[in-house]
Amino acid sequence: MTRLDELLAYEVVEGLTEGQFTAEDYVTTILKRIEKVEPKVHSFITLDTDGALSSAKIIDKKLKEKEAIGQLAGVIVGIKDNISTQGIRTTCASKILENYVPTYDATVIKSLKESGAILLGKLNLDEFGMGSTTEYSRYQPTRNPWNLDCVPGGSSGGSGAAVAAGECTIALGSDTGGSIRCPSSFCSVIGLKPTYGRVSRYGLISYANSLEQIGPICRSVRDLVIMLNIISGKDTFDNTSMPSNPISIPKRLNKLNVGIIKELITGSDQEVTKSVYFASEKFKEIGCPCEEVSIKNLHYALPSYYTLASAEASSNLARYDNLRYGFDYSIGEYKWDTYFSNVRENFGEEVKRRILIGSYVLSSGYYGKYYLKARRLRSLLRLELLELFKKYDLLIGPTMPILPFKFGEKIDDPIKMYLVDINTVIANLAGIPAISLPIGFSNGLPIGLQLMAAPFGEQKLIDASYELEKIINIPRRPNSI
């Protein structure tokens, strides 16, 4: 029998319903697992052990009394620490929110609680989601469970690593420019950035509002579907959310036309490229024709992304002035002219960099030159992609152009760091759904395949991922920990 701490979410619910084990057994097992691997991986910023155990007891009581339990009853969900949880500290991995305890639950947290999920704690990230390695966490970096010398990706690195290391059944991440898919690729798990508007952002601490979405990180496509359906839907608290149809596990696969994005292949490491071609063979095996396509406006994606994301961030992060909440600050004086700049010294370097860039591109005289131009390029790219989706059901390529790399390798050069996001920012700029699926390994380091579809085309992503998952055998549990 599979070890308890290796169960998938739907297996946990089955096991509990059939009385094979109790929710308390399961939580205890996971806590032991955490005790063992957490000192190596550092996925969590905050653990709520007591809360998890008492939620487990409630579920056990319900089971005993034959009451209905939710779709995710007993499943342990880790939450990226930029999603608001009532009564549980939410830091965004920033020192500036070190003591911030939200007074409300994000809409996705409410949905999870209603479905019986057990929230175990808050997972690490790059400060405010700005980064691709978790090295910008103001607490400590998370390590890649497949190779502890390597970064787990980011910014949802804690979520990717925790799921891969078996520290939780599934996790929630957020994705502004690849922050779910990058760690999913680097940690060999499945991560989805939903269509912009499918999942409520209410309670997600904004980095760049027009680009980001909350999404699931899981070890199986089936888990991902369950989770996605629970968190999707129109929310009156988010003006940008929209109603959507639930996703189902496919009975059989209809033929899908697949386009392989040429520019993303040529720009990648050889090992990564090889895996994409391997994937295209597998697509042909399941009856889906593949051909290469080109995205003309692709070279505009990164500049457009960093301009818009920084602009929005500079405004979103203005509220952190420590007047109402934040951190312990004994400045001794509150001088009008210096207070704001003194207190905001407490942001990390990367965050400061993006606030500066953002303030610059929005300042009068530069708005038209940078911000407005970036918006135009964004719509150009979106239009081009929508046109491509008339012909192709899916556009694929590597999630990340390179393999997981060592700590410190890119942190000194922000431009080098920004460049690794080239494959993922496309979906955020266009507002389309994209999934990262484990496709193989090179020297023990995971490689992810990215699939993109038209807006609200999640069903097609799931259809293909479900088939590929069946025929591509990927080891689930890293041996290094």
């Binding site: 003006n239 405004s315 203005a318 009008w336 708005y367």
Partner: protein, 477 residues
Amino acid sequence: MSMVMIGLEIHAQITALNSKLFCSCRGNYRDLRPNSNICEICCGLPGSLPIINQKAIEYSTMMSIALGCKVPDKIMFYRKNYFYPDLPKNFQITQYNVYGISSIGIEGKYELDEVKQIRISRIQLEEDPGRIAYSEGGMNVRNTALIDYNRAGVALIEIVTEPDFTGPKEVRHFLNKLSLTLEHLDVCDTLLEGSVRCDVNVSMNGGNKVEIKNINSFKEVEKAINYEITRQSNVYGRNLKIEHETRHWDDKKKITFKARSKEEEHDYRYFPEPDIPVIVLGSNFVANLKQRMPELPNERFERFRLKYQLSDHTSNILINDKKLADFFESTLKLHFSPVEIANILVTEFKSLIEDDTEGRDYLKNLKVKPEHIAELVKLIEGNKISRTTAKDILVKIFESGELPTEVVNSSNSFKITDEKTIMDAVHSVFDNEKSAVEDAKKNREAINFLLGKVMKFTNGRADAKIAMRLINSKLNE
């Protein structure tokens, strides 16, 4: 003679709303314990998002229509970024027209009177910040300030005019009419403390304009402008230049003073609010709203004149006091006699209350209701009581709240139409006022004196027409 140009920037809270602009906290924040009317949205807690109040869009559209503005098919919100402790997000959600039209009203024209027109640059919808309370003596004495966010997020309509005013009188006239419009559309109760504020731009002789901020009531605006014109004249008189600057109005000392220079050099870094998608109003929105919206003051004025045949003067008094005009029309529903009712309301009725109620909502606590006035007028018109009696009854019912008929019955003050009773009174007056009778025989105008005496003799109850006829016939005997 120097040329003065004045422009206004008016902020009016939409006090009619139950909730704030972007959350469900109460719109009426007044008289609440500090920081008790707040939630994660109006406090800008991380992760919270604004939800737009649809009613606020309707109210601001009505104001745009009333001020002759165009209302675009689509509107948007922008972020205005600046750091200030009363601003929970350190940006204000507002509207902005530099990168294309986004605000609810533009290019308005408002007829101030037959000759003067004021151009409205734009009308926009935005959120109010919280309030900073300095400890006694202000910041200079103690180093502390308290912040109350109860007001943060309340819906504001900003009205910006072109610099079309040439003096404080025009400004006062405009602000009076604007107040009436706000009241008639039920957008803003302008009498509530802080519900309307005004910034003023003043420039003279084509020189630099000076912006005066912090004028917290329409009444102070005229004073601030007068002060500023005098100040600027003095500066020009000494052959100095006026700086382009921001000044604050000190309503205790009644002077303007220069703001800290830093406050002027803002770059607000406007950009479209990503959390509120473009709002498409649709082509029928304005047309539908026009049909549903309450009557504007000038429309009502015309209706009073034409439908009710009231004089300009009477109509004006009623329109300028919306609640009295409403009272008038409620009375009409009970008894349709517009001229009589209007006359009573603008004269006797108003004279009984005006002393101690400066514009307050005095009608609400009054014992006299439209029922009373309707009945009173019926009694007059039915020839049951004299006008003199009517005045006395009005005084009585103001105090007691009794219905006029009750008063008339209990005090036996019906009009006397019995000729014999009146003739007795005439006899009596003729006996007592012999010299006046002689006068009246020569000078017909002295008859009124005799009539007055007869009325007095009957406690004002005699039918004046009958009394007059009897006096005349007795004089001719």
